[in-house]
């Protein structure tokens, strides 16, 4: 049942009416939320979000919270949600750290092989949960390189995949180790959690994002990575399979047109933009914008308008 997409079909986007909201809730079994700008802004939860999530849960909807941040595991992110008064489970969080481990699991990664990790503890924890052995991670951040005569780096020939995630301790040693594995171990995979150009570790300044760590390895190997986080399709396919849903039964809710909405559209999902993050209504409706979500609303809690009509007892 795809009423929402058919209604918007091909004529651009529109602000969700009450009827749209009811059809959306009725036709969608799973909501995927980008976090920043949808659920919270910085360290404050956006008004009305907890009640909206409770309503959707009471209606039996599956909820998934997606983040391209790879530094923490799903369990590690739970702390942020609970501190904001949001009741969710670790398994409802889809971090790019989890995506990397889930990807290897999905291709039946040979458990006798190893992974070399450029990244922080989140990826290591998720690999542990999937029973995948690894080398590298934060420990290699201490290793300094001296290019002296006679110097030679050995590498483990059992490394069958290199995962590159966000790494504030990136260094020349790690770049070389990863490069040797990729170039010299036959069939070694090069996986990236994501390629975001910048990251917002402080509110006031944009620092280098995961794309820079990935860039260093691309520059050294001349190989392109398989990306598992947004905007690649793996995450969405994995979620759809996990819940046994068709793409149209899933709605992507985000605040960015070129990542969240395009990401959802490329996966065949229903898409809804909220204006509580980086995108303004003016930018959305501008003639130069070519990305049109099925619906848009001011913020997630606009869905609460449907609560009375749906007679939700949450």
């Amino acid at each position: 049942m795809v009423p929402v997409k058919a209604a918007a079909g091909g004529q651009g986007t529109r602000r969700a009416t009450l009827e749209d909201k009811m059809k959306l809730i009725d036709g969608v079994d799973c909501f995927i939320f980008d976090c920043d700008g949808v659920i919270w802004r910085g360290d404050s939860v956006i008004e009305g979000v907890p009640e909206t999530l409770d309503m959707l849960r009471a209606l039996g909807k599956k909820l998934v919270f997606v983040t391209n941040n790879s530094t923490k595991s799903r369990k590690g992110y739970l702390g942020k949600f609970t501190s904001l008064g949001l009741n969710i489970n670790a398994e409802e969080i889809y971090s790019s750290s989890y995506a990397a481990a889930a990807y290897l699991d999905s291709i039946k990664f040979d458990r006798s092989k190893k992974v070399y990790v450029i990244g922080e503890t989140g990826i290591l924890e998720e690999l542990d949960l999937k029973g995948i052995k690894y080398l590298g991670g934060p420990g290699d951040g201490q290793k300094v390189v001296n290019l002296k005569p006679g110097e030679y780096m050995e590498h483990d020939e059992d490394v069958a995949a290199v995962i590159v995630g966000f790494d504030r301790y990136i260094n020349y040693y790690k770049i070389q180790y990863a490069t040797l594995c990729i170039r010299e171990n036959p069939g070694c995979m090069f996986i990236a959690t994501n390629r975001d150009a910048v990251t917002h570790l402080t509110d006031a300044q944009e620092w280098a994002g995961n794309g820079s760590m990935v860039g260093a390895i691309v520059g050294s190997t001349k190989r392109e990575p398989h990306v598992v986080g947004k905007p690649s399709g793996f995450m969405l396919q994995n979620i759809a399979e996990q819940f046994n849903l068709k793409p149209e039964q899933i709605c992507m809710v985000g605040d960015r047109l070129d990542t969240d909405i395009l990401f959802g559209q490329n996966g065949g999902l229903t898409t809804c933009l909220v204006l509580s993050g980086v995108t303004t209504e003016e930018q959305l409706l501008s003639p130069s914008n070519e990305v049109h979500p099925d619906l848009y609303m001011s913020q997630l809690s606009d869905l609460l308008a449907a609560k009375q009509t749906l007679k939700v007892t949450a």
Partner: protein, 300 residues
Amino acid sequence: MKQASPNDMMEMLRRYDTWVFDCDGTLWRGQALIEGVADALQLLRDLGKKVLFVTNNSTKSRKAFKVKFDQLQLPVDQAEIYSSSHSAAAYLQSIGFKKKAYVCGERGIMEELAAAGIAAVGGPDDNDRRLEGRPVEIDPEIGAVVCGADPGLSYFKVTYASLCLRHNPGCLFIATNTDSRGHFIEKQEWPGAGATVAAVQAVVGMEPIVTGKPSPFMLRDVCAAHATTPDRMIMVGDRLDTDIAWGHATGMATLLVLTGITGRDDLAAEWGRPGFQRPDYVMASFGDLMGISAAARAAA
């Protein structure tokens, strides 16, 4: 794909009075001179040829490279050496650059910038700097970011460089070169300037100005300094994507040697490919030129 015959070698000597050499893999491997090279270079000098050395290695200044030539007992004048560290400084000088340059690279770039009268900041001095949980102050005087091979690459340096490029109006993005790997030590290749450049480029989305091989700038700089033109020049090197590509881009003749990165099989694999830029001549080693030494001296 035939290797150069004695006639080919005599022809090279007749046609080209300026011989330009890549270093790693062409003249030496690590600390070891390739057999016959010293004698072949001397032959060229005795025949009155101009001899120049161009390396994409950005880690040393040309002065430091002369030390290496001296250690290997290869006679050379510092003015005959062109490192990509030098080419970056020469480029900035050529455009009348008067601001500061932030360096993601080794001491060689810092030294060349200083020699060109350009204030250089960052480089190995920033290897231990870390970002703290608040915005970092960007020096508004930084008007260029210069990236080369960087064994001290760090999150701080990539972020600081990207902030200069994004926030200082008109800040230039300079790459000494974009080679993915380099033979900085004999036994193994390590990440080259290409890794540093790609890390910064991923953040800022800008194309860098490349000053080393195969960019035409380096050739213009060489020709201006030595009063020569590409039609009189032959480039001798071991890399198809820098040395031979540079020849094709600039009009120099090209001689590929098989003592470095490119092996016989690599060349054979590429030779028939449509669009492949073939070297004009191929020799197993530059030292093989000694095979015609007597004939060449007699003809001179």
